[in-house]
Symmetry: D2
Subunit: 364 residues, 4 copies
């Protein structure tokens, strides 16, 4: 079905470009009878939008969502929900200069080749981080659906920025993750992360980082063996977020260094429920949810757009050149990414919950 569609029963189709008229997404398969209006989505978009603090790009984008189909009398109808954000007039002139000069670390060069020069390169076009706003829109619907029907909740937060690593993460401080600029539950680490980002920006440079994501109250048995394992479908969706280069579940790469006797999670009964003593599996066994919290870690590369002069090619002239990337950019995309990760995970889980027959086509 091509790269603009994801999901089987909770399906989303993305459209729009960074500097085109809009960015949008159509969601099909959301059951009828879910109360929904723009405010359910706007809150998450606001947590993603640029310009919220000094660690982010100072571009101002209002990112006001409009729902243009699929809602009637305040509820979903079972029909496709089209949501979009009209782009404000952007200054696309600086991008003229990069038309033939691919920015290192960006999709410019492969897109140029793939689309024979027809792609809309302004602001990165389809490859812009701005498209993550569409993931938030679709995922906000999914998140509300999961919460209301199954009590499922997903939280994502920053655990690493550059070489700064969060220490103390607790359910209590996760709940306050959006109270600091970098969305790190550990306040001491958050402060250091903030400084590291400001320093990177001062140096005309950028930083990467890691986001951790936890989903609780997941029923047992979501996912389908082999090609639609939860890990398969979650990673597919997560790697749709620009700048993501690594995904691990549970003990992940660290688990690769362990012995089976250390890494296997022992089953036990707690409060009448089957649980495991540890959760090295990150809530997934054989591709299926096992009832324990889902634990994912997502690695983001440092933002490709940096102020520093970089060496690159002028493709038209076939010669080496130097480039200062135009525009105002995030010195680190990680602080804006937790709502995106939460929403992407919700989108996949909503699809699987419907596939597993756990959410009916009409909500009472």
């Amino acid at each position: 079905m091509g790269g603009s569609i994801i999901g089987e029963r909770f399906v989303a189709m993305s459209f729009g470009e960074s500097h085109g008229r809009c960015v949008g997404i159509v969601v099909d398969g959301c059951p009828a009878g879910l109360p929904l209006d723009e405010s359910d989505i706007q809150g998450l978009l606001d947590l993603r939008k640029p310009g919220q603090s000094v660690v982010m790009t100072q571009r101002k984008e209002e990112d006001r969502v409009e729902i243009i189909s699929g809602i009637f009398n305040g509820n979903t109808t079972g029909a496709p929900i089209c949501m979009l954000i009209w782009n404000k007039d952007s200054d696309s002139r600086p991008y003229e200069m990069i038309k033939n000069i691919p920015r290192p670390g960006h999709a410019d060069y492969p897109a140029m080749v793939k689309y024979g020069g027809f792609a809309d390169y302004r602001g990165g076009g389809r490859f812009s981080g701005r498209l993550t706003a569409t993931l938030v829109m679709a995922g906000a619907v999914a998140g509300k659906l999961l919460k209301r029907t199954l009590g499922i909740e997903t939280v994502a937060y920053t655990t690493e920025i550059g070489t700064v690593k969060a220490g103390n993460i607790t359910p209590a401080n996760i709940a306050t993750r959006y109270s600091n600029d970098v969305r790190c539950p550990d306040p001491a680490a958050a402060e250091k992360m903030r400084e590291a980002i400001l320093q990177a920006r001062k140096d005309g440079d950028s930083l990467g980082g890691v986001i951790e994501c936890i989903t609780s109250s997941l029923p047992v048995g979501l996912g389908e063996p082999i090609f639609a394992s939860l890990e398969s479908d979650l990673s597919k969706a997560l790697f749709s977020i620009p700048a993501v280069k690594a995904v691990e579940f549970g003990s992940g790469f660290a688990g690769s260094k362990r012995r089976g006797s250390e890494n296997n999670d022992v089953y036990m009964i707690r409060d009448g429920k089957v649980v495991t003593k540890t959760n090295n599996a990150g809530g997934i066994l054989g591709g299926l949810s096992n009832g324990m919290p889902l634990v994912i870690r997502v690695g983001f590369k440092p933002a490709a757009s940096i102020a520093k002069t970089q060496e690159t090619l002028d493709i038209a002239k076939n010669s080496q050149t130097y480039l200062e990337v135009p525009g105002r950019h995030d010195p680190c995309v990680v602080p804006r990414a937790p709502p995106v990760v939460e929403c992407v995970v919700s989108m996949v889980l909503a699809d699987h919950a419907i596939r597993a027959g756990l959410i009916p086509p009409v909500l009472k």
Copy 2:
């Protein structure tokens, strides 16, 4: 389309169970005119099969592939290619005892819940590592197709087993990766890995590890933006391999700690071709191949089946119990996994090459 199907134009549908009559896969969308017979597949299956060396399970499985459709006069016809391996009589009796006693680290418990007790639990059923033989069958076809039409080749090899890490990896020693038991190009590390596995087995325990995978001669522009990024579709397929818990591309998690100026790859011309000086992107920018080698690292958890007694639950009795996992198992699945990783990657790349119009429906 459910969890048994992958791909859009090069499509594979898996069937079969570990201790059922067979394991098999149907491949549709392979262009007509590719010379193909069982020997093209058997070689890769032989590299995956158990019992090849002391570091593997001593189970003997012949794993002889049969192609039962889609070939005529020694060539593919454009019709679906059904390939299968008939299972030899397995001793399924030991599995009776685990019917209600889920093995830690295995899919037993979520599968029991998901399928209401109807799943074929013998030997792990659909969740068995044995199913990776079907991935090898489909991927062997894809690999031959890619090699013949576009010169694309994929190699995978072990870089870590437990805490032992390969040092010196070169194109030359990668070429000999299958010459040692653990499939590690670095012979000194290979020897230590071998010892580590034998020690783990002696301890009734198991080890995990990491496999690295390189694809060369990839054309520029494979992949589709957003939901069918190469990272998305590759990770989806790789997480279909049992025991995989982590996937990273290029500099991956290590890149998350770097600055943009370090991690961005500078463009240059070499031999008249656009290349990058470094390859931190692992050959993928914006989800599209950029012409550099594809670099993937895949983390495997330690094998869940260990000889040591483990604590678990008797679900029928709702009480704690102890379990010795029946059967003969790999103390580490990594040495058998490189051909699986190679094949899975080929499968995804063949799909994308056809989608990009780079492989015609009929080969000349």
Copy 3:
């Protein structure tokens, strides 16, 4: 993927409701480099819009298309093309009265049950004939693509209205099919059809009819055996048009009464090309195009909305009642349907032409 999506490589996703904010469609998979603007679509929409003549509903809808993504510098970019029509303020009050009183022949009752009362029933919501405007938008893009790359053209015209049947149909008069109100190439029949429709309206009643569709210059070999036969995919798309209840190819039901020796088409060479003397197959053998013109006939039921009082149920009161269908309606939908049929056929053929590798991802 649900009912709002069609196609595999040329994919369309529909959204919107009759009296909602808009009706729209997103097309993905259109190759880059196709010159496209609103005027390419508006012409076909104008042939479909209501109020063009006395045989149509006197509702005035401007149906002005806006392309809001996927075009840059006047060309397609390879990105999804979102097209929509903003609905003008409709008078939805009359529909309040039918909320619980299903109109005979409409989707009201099954939709009420399926969506638990949450569906947007105003103007028929998702089930309205107004949604065919979205098929025209997607199909207009497909039609231009097919014409420009492969010279393929599709024409549809009225052959029956009620019991009036066209006689003389020639390539010459097909070319002028849009010059009369009922889009019938035979002018004498057209006049009688017009009168029949006016009489039916006068009687507070409606008529059905038949549209024939011819595609020329189709290459040999479009379609895929079994489930994606051209007949399969064309009929699937054609039955998406409200009021269509019958589809036949070539000699169709009439062919069922013939002997094989009459119905088989004899091969011969004409102008150096393999053709058949007759075309009872309607251009399709074994589900594949055979190079002859595609011939389809599509049967439309009489419009369900009639002015006459009809007996029905009040579902809320569980009692028999009488209904006068509110709104201004077409006494016969057939005269507005030829552009819809043309566009739907183009959509399917564009998908198959791309699948067959006959249209590249970038147009030169």
Copy 4:
């Protein structure tokens, strides 16, 4: 996903060729817990197999189904069900002669072009009517599932052979439809049909015909608006049957000649259930089931293989030639088609019943 796959949640993938090793199909998405063994399928296969009576080809094919995955302890497990029939040694030599001489009315010529000469042409390969055995296998599973969970039953029977038309069709005689050679409920018409077929064979010719299909006990609301209307998905599947050239629902083409006031079905309450007085809609409104019996008519062309000498081309020599079609063939395929139509319809309805949440993933 290509032409070998159908369905979204009840998915089938076909493989095999007429004179290859086997014909088979893999069904995924069948809920766990359905009692199933070969006998559930064999009965329907036996009604389709050749050689049952004088009106059929005298070829003897045993068509013995084997289930090779997806069943455990006599029940479905939720895993893919692979079913196949091993082909007996066929005499493929006669087909050598038609390698370059396309048979009129068959797929030979377009297949030759599409697959560049690589297709397996023996016995028609993938395009053979023999592949309908795979539809029966998948549909037999679907039919049992629908019967057991929702009480849905589908019956198909012959209403026309050549110009002979059945008159008196009643529920009682439908029940005995398989008691005569031609599967026509009206015994007097059946006798005339039988004679017509024998006469056609004597003349070295063939006949077509029409099959009617009724599904009862369908719940309200199956189908999805626009592209997955029940008519869309049913016709897509029905046109997958070789020789089908026409499909109509309810009053179909006859309805096109009527007025709305005649064709609209009036709602009423009968036995506490909402029904319609007439059933011109054939059980489908707006693409959704309305609770009335589904009524479909399927037109089959006369069998293309006839004994009479036919004119055609020698493609290799580029010259006109004469052909006597080799092999023993059905003078009319219609008598063998009712179980195929029943099964194809069941397959689509099972998919939609699962999509609508009416059949759970595990049966109790």
